[in-house]
Structure formats: C-alpha cells, structure tokens
Amino acid sequence: MTARVKASGQPTARPGLGARLAEATTGRQALGRLLHNRMALLGLIIIVVYVVLAAFPSILTQHDPNVQNLARTLEPPSAEYRLGTDEFGRDVLSRVLHGARLSFTIAGLAVILGGLSGFAIGLLAGYFGGAVDTVLMRLMDVLLAMPGILLAIAVIAALGAGIGNVIIAIGIYNIPQFARLTRSTVLGVKTQDFVLASRSIGSSAPEILVRHIIPNAWGAPFVFAMLRFSTAILTASGLSFLGLGVSPPTPEWGAMLAASRGYMRLAPHLVLAYGLAISTLVLGFNALGEGLRDVFDPRTAR
C-alpha cells in the first residue's frame, strides 16, 4: 500500500529518507546538493537575508521601532522612512525588521520545543512499543483531535498572552506532529538489519538508541522542522492577528497586520509591508523545506 498519512498531516516517514539524509550529511555532498537545488537555494538565500537584516537592522534604517511621532502618522514611503510610517508615526521598515527578529525567536523556540518533545515521545513510543507506545500515542491522538489553532488559543487563554506563552502554545501544538513522524521513522529504522546487528553484538537499549536509532531517525523530523518553521510563523502571526499574541508595542507581524488592517485604505503600504514580510520569510522556509525533501528523497525530486 502506498504511504499512508495519519491525522497529523505528514506522510509516514519513508525509512529511506533518514538514511539518505544521513548518508549525504556525512560528506560535503549535502551542502553541495542543496546548493544545486534551485528551490532550496532560494529558500536559503531568503532566510539568510532575513537573518542578517534581523540581526543588524541598522543596515537599512536608523529608526527605533518604538519611537512614536504622532505628528507624522501614516506617511507613505519616503527617503526618510523607506516603508513609510504607521499610525503612531513609527518607522515601518524598522518594525518589519524587528518583527523578523521576533518571528525567528518565536518560531525557532516553538519548533525546538515541540520538535524535541515530540521527537523524544516518538522515539520512546516507537522504540519500546507496547504499552508505552499505546499510552503516548493515544495522548498524541487527543492533542491532534483538537484543531491546532484552537488548541493554541485555548493554551494562550489559559496561560495569558505574551511571547513565552505563544511559544509554549505553538510548541505544544507541534508535539504530536513530530511525535508521529518520529515514531514512524523509528519504526522503520528499528527493523533495519543494522539495529539487529548491533543487538547481535550485545549492545544495550540505550546504546542502540544513541548509536543507531537517533542518528538515523532525526533526518525526517529535521526536514519536517523546516516546514514547521513556516507554520509556526504563520500560527504566531495568526494568533496575534486574533489579538491573542504578544502585547504592543512589540513589533509582531501579525499584530501589526491586524492593527494596520483598519488603515488599509488610508495607508495601504502598511498592510502590504507586513503581509509581504510574513509571506516572504514563510516562503523561504517552505522553499528550503521542500528543497531539502527533494534533495533527500529523489523519488519526488525535480
């Protein structure tokens, strides 16, 4: 039967992917192949540009993202304000760039949080199977049965708004997805002969996990993480858009987009700037993720 996909949304891992990723990352080929993949390259360039600009916003603008000038609100782009000003007379460009910084932080930490927890859960469930598997996976089913953004909203409602809680909310929502993927990858790796070979020389369970399972099982979740980055950015901004994210005046893209929505006609440059900022970065991660998948899964390669 063809690869089945469970409610998590990602296809069950092809055992080959991890191994192939592993094979390639052992040499310099990985980078080489990646750089030869146009899509991955595009993604990589976008991300690198964003990282650089987010780290050094002063390359493009000297304005403080939070300094208001109520006398100069909603100005269109000009030499002084390259992307114009917002409703408080703040520099839009500066806010966009600082927003990138925040997006990286939120998405990064949320994916790491969700990814690592999910990876650990999937690893245990997949490797040990039996009751451990049943209990953990039922728990994941429960989390999965609650639609992602509503789960995040409920978590934020419980914990309160704020960057930390947004990270936790998105992290939690990522756990079951990683857990499922990791589990199916581990199930694939577990039955490989080299695991049996290691058992045949007398390795213990922890030794096998560390030496054989983990190195061969992280590939698929890793590629998946790239794609989850983009989802995390979108979810974070979606939450802020609903007014559940970070507090003002923190330059968060979704929040800024929500605020600028009211000025769509007076100052369309705001909605455009924030929307394009989110879209481009998300596109970068998606392109990189797709590219990675192509590179390591030649069956769908372009």
Binding site: V67, A71, F88, G89, G160, P248, P249, G262, M264, R265
Partner: protein
C-alpha cells in the same frame, strides 16, 4: 510520454470526485433583498388597545421619545426594510438579562421602560406618564400610561409592571438588571395604573435608573409561561417593533407593531446585522448593503466621507477613556507623581493625530453628555513640569505595569501605546499588557494588597446617564475593588461626603452643583489620568430620514423612514 488530452481527463476526474464529495451547499438569501427575508414571527399577538393619555410630571419635556422626526419623512411614510449594522452580536433578547448597550439598542425597539432618556440627556415619560417622590424621599409614585398592549395582546398595567420588578428583584433569578435597582426594597401596586417604588435610602438618581434599558417591561404572560431560556429568545414587549427572527451573528429581524400606542414605525421591517470587524461595517455601508452602520472606526471616516450617497455623523459619546493609577502602590500614592503623569500625556496629539480628530480630549472624569457633567480644566501637556514634579517627589527610573483590555474601547489600545511612549519621554518606563477583558477583570477585581498592576486603561459611561452611577462607584472609599469600581483604591472623606450628598439630594439642580465639586476634586487629586472622550461615529445612507441620536449610543427607530431610491 506526453499527451494533450491530459488536462481534460483530469478535469473529468475531479468533477466526478466532487460530485461524490459534496451534496450541495445550503444557500441563504442576501440581506439586500428584504422580500426574501422574513420568517414566521415566533410570538403570537392579539392586539387590543385602550387609548393613551400622556400626562405631565417632574420632567422637563412632555414629548414622547422620538417624536422629533423631520417633517419631510412623514409623507414618504411607510415601507422598506431598514438594515442597521451593529458592532457586535446581541447578548440576549431578555432585557432583564442585559448588560450592554448593543443589546439595549435592539431591545429598546421592542420593549419600553417606564421612563426614558430624552435626546438632551434628561429623563422623560414613557410607559409612566408622571412620577413624584414622598417627603421622606423614600417612596416614589408613578402614574402609568393607559391603553398600552404588549405584542402578545396582554394589557400593560401596574400589575404587569410589578411582575417585572418582582422578577428582577428576586435574588434567585440572578438577573443582571438587579444592579440598576440597587437600594429598591419593594414595589407596590396602588391601583391599576399607579405604582409605588420604595427605596432603602434617599436615592436621587432613581428616575435615570428607571430609564435604563434593562428595566424594560416584558409581557406578564410571557414572564409566567416562559423559562428564562425561552424569554431570551422570544421577546414580548410594548415597543413599536415586534420580533420576527434572530440568527446569532447574522441578523435580528423586527417588524412594525401596528397596535403600538405611540408613533407607529414608518418602515415595515428592521434588520440588524452584527459585524464585529470595523472594516466590514464600513464596507457594508459603502456598498449600499446597509442603511445605518454604528461604531464606524476613526480610520474609516475619511474614506466614507468621500463616498456619495451617505454621510458620516460624529456624535459625542460621553464615555471617558482614562487611566486608573493604583494608589495602593508607591509612588503612585504621592499626588505629585500622579500629577506628573497627568502632565506628561499629550491628550491633544492622541485625540487629534492618533485618533484622527475623532476623539475629544477629556476635561475630567465625567463625559460631556452625562447628567452631572461640568466643564473643568484638565491637565495640559507639559513634560518639563512632569519631570520637575517627579524630581520633587524623588522618583527616578520608575517602571510601571500598565494593563489595557483588548478591543474593549475605541482607541483604547492605541492610546495605551501612545501613553507608554509619552511616559517614556519623562523617564517612566511602562510595561504594557493587553488582556482579554475577562482576564483583566479577574486581575483587577482584588483588594489593594493583592493588586499587581500600576496603571489600568479604562473607559466608563454611566449606564443611566447619571454621574452618580459613575463617580460613586469609582471614588467612594466603600467602592474600592473588589466591591465596586474604585480600582484606583482612592479614598478621601471629603470625596465620600460629596458623593453621598449627590446621591441623597432629590433636587437635580442641586445635584449638578455637587458633581461639579466632585469633578474638580478628582482632577486636583489626579485620581485618574483622563485621556479623551470617545465619539460615536455612524455612517448613514442619505435616504435614511428621521434618525435621532440619544445621548447613550442608541436610537429609537420608529421615527426613521426610508425615502425611495438610494
């Protein structure tokens, strides 16, 4: 391996898939086509009507509410479906269960109160024609209007009124309306059309309370026969419109009640459409999909003003947006610090630049249309003075935590950000936290010792349009949170004495003088940091005639008519 027929094949496949996947989607009719709208009325009505006889009383005006409609509309009289866009969905159709004005606006088209607010902010007769108070200031006597029928055919009389009050006063019912009757101990029937209301202590503002939408009269038969849940869905009142249908978050449809005792409605139907998104409301009115849109956002005003066929009405809305300063926390207990913060904020810039001139800088705690308002001098914008005062108080490197409710007040969050930036200017760091209103209430409804915030952006409009409702609950020592709304934990004997005097005085002119002192004292003590008064912005199609704005955010739509062709 290529073929040109491929896309055709794929289309076929997809169509087949779809046919299997979806069994047809439900459709609904467009609100712009009223003919398709009405459904069967859910309440039955058998009108009978004794004649009405208005009589004079204490109040200044004898004109029944909403009779000031322009003459022009009289001719084009009847017909049409008036589409009115609300900023939120209504909470309930049971007036006694109400707590907010949007529901009040809708309910007041179907229900009536004993007394009613007049466009000038004073109180006049409605279902009661006259009222007086006994010499000990504890017993109020009301003469009720005769010849009024409910939509279900029941006649309105003192027994019906008493049934309503009894329902509200019964603590088992836990109805929100009870708070408007705080201090009322009993309601008695004197005769068929005379009602007596007894209060525990002298209570000057009572007429304003009786005009509050949550004390509207519901058919006694409905009260008897229906459960609270049914009442919430089947409104039976005496108003000019009666209920047709309610689709939550979509529409509330009313139709003209032909046996109304007063000025009969000119339009056949009214359809309320709740649209929470400001941009959505603006678009609906712009595209002609609606006739009246309430709560237009300031940023949409310029655009709408440029649209043909409609006009924008900016009305004063006496809700004052201000900042509570938690006086239980040092150094906010120092009046100089509070004054300093007051000087540091540029109200003009906030109202004119940030809120695009669609807010009015506040002059004090009480809004300009409220009974009890008087013009006072608020703090100006003087950051130097602020810095001096802070230095004088020995305050340096102050960091304050400011709370603001999410989406609760027009311009509230924006103002909070501006205040944050402006306070930063005088060396005060503000950590801003936007909270859902429910979370915020939980956070602030605490005794002083447990409070964990310093500044709190808040807005207030007295539901009765009487200053007592506001200032007593905000400034009296006994009103300190969590008991009531004194979230600043302010307390002074001088203030308490004034507040009590305002409440016990029956003479409304006397009361005005008292409240003037209250307001001045509030400013001197810088109890709160007064920012601006909201405006109420309506966009109205030009074919809407006879729309009269009441002081608190509602209109009586029986006077409104639609002229042909939009």
């Amino acid at each position: 391996m290529k073929s040109r027929t491929l896309p055709v094949f794929s289309l076929l496949v997809i169509v087949a898939l779809l046919l299997a996947a979806c069994g047809g989607t439900p459709t609904t009719t467009s609100p712009t086509q009223p003919a398709a709208q009405p459904t069967e009325p859910e309440s039955e009505s058998q009108p009978t009507e004794p004649p009405a006889q208005p009589t004079e009383a204490l109040a200044a005006s004898e004109v029944p509410a909403g009779t000031e409609a322009p003459a022009a509309t009289e001719a084009s009289a009847t017909g049409g479906n008036l589409i009115y866009v609300l900023p939120t969905d209504i909470a309930s159709l049971d007036p006694h269960a109400l707590i907010e004005t949007v529901s009040g606006m809708v309910d007041l088209q179907m229900f009536e109160t004993l007394l009613a607010l007049l466009p000038d902010g004073s109180v006049g007769p409605r279902l009661a024609t006259e009222w007086s108070v006994s010499d000990d200031n504890l017993r109020w006597t009301l003469k009720l209007r005769e010849g009024v029928v409910f939509h279900d055919g029941e006649a309105f009389d003192a027994n019906a009124a008493k049934a309503n009050f009894d329902r509200i006063l019964n603590p088992d019912n836990a109805l929100p309306a009870v708070r408007v009757l705080a201090g009322v101990t009993e309601v008695n029937v004197i005769d068929d059309f005379t009602l007596e209301i007894v209060t525990q202590a002298p209570f000057g503002p009572l007429p304003f309370h009786l005009a509050h939408y949550s004390l509207a009269m519901v058919s006694p038969r409905a009260l008897q026969e229906m459960t609270p849940e049914e009442l919430a869905q089947n409104p039976v009142g005496t108003g000019p419109f009666r209920f047709v249908s309610y689709t939550p978050n979509e529409s509330i449809v009313l139709e003209r009640f032909d046996d109304y005792w007063g000025e009969k409605a000119k339009v056949d139907m009214v359809t309320f459409r709740p649209i929470p998104e400001t941009a959505g409301r603006a678009l609906l009115i712009e595209t002609g999909e609606a006739h009246i849109a309430a709560k237009i956002a300031p940023q949409d005003v310029d655009t709408l003003r440029g649209v043909d066929g409609l006009h924008v009405d900016v009305n004063a809305f006496p809700r004052v947006i201000f900042v509570h300063m938690n006086e239980s926390h040092a150094p906010l207990d120092d009046v100089r610090v509070r004054q300093a913060l007051s000087w540091a904020v540029d109200r003009e810039a906030i109202a004119n630049d940030l809120l695009r001139g669609l807010a009015v800088p506040a002059t004090g705690p009480v809004g300009s249309g409220v009974f009890g308002y008087s013009k006072t001098e608020n703090y100006g914008y003087d950051p130097d003075r602020a810095r001096e005062l802070l230095a004088e108080a020995g305050v340096e490197g102050l960091t304050l935590k400011m709370l603001v409710p999410a989406g609760r007040y027009q311009g509230g969050e924006e103002a909070a950000q501006a205040v944050q930036a402006q306070l930063a200017n005088v060396g005060v760091t503000v950590d801003l936290e936007v909270l859902e209103f429910s979370t915020l209430l939980q956070a602030i409804r605490k005794p002083a010792a447990e409070s964990e915030w310093d500044l709190l952006v808040f807005g207030f409009i007295p539901a009765t349009n009487d200053a007592d409702w506001q200032v007593y609950s905000q400034f009296h020592c006994d009103s300190q949170a969590p008991v009531s709304n004194n979230f600043s934990y302010y307390c002074s004997e001088e203030m308490d004495a004034l507040l009590e005097q305002g409440r016990f005085t029956m003479d409304q002119d006397e009361r005005l003088k008292v409240y003037k002192q209250v307001i001045q004292l509030a400013l001197d003590d810088a109890i709160q940091l007064y920012l601006f008064e909201n405006t109420d912005i309506y966009a109205v199609r030009n074919n809407v005639q006879g729309l009269v704005y009441m002081p608190i955010d509602y209109q009586f739509l029986n006077t409104v008519s639609l002229s042909g062709g939009d």
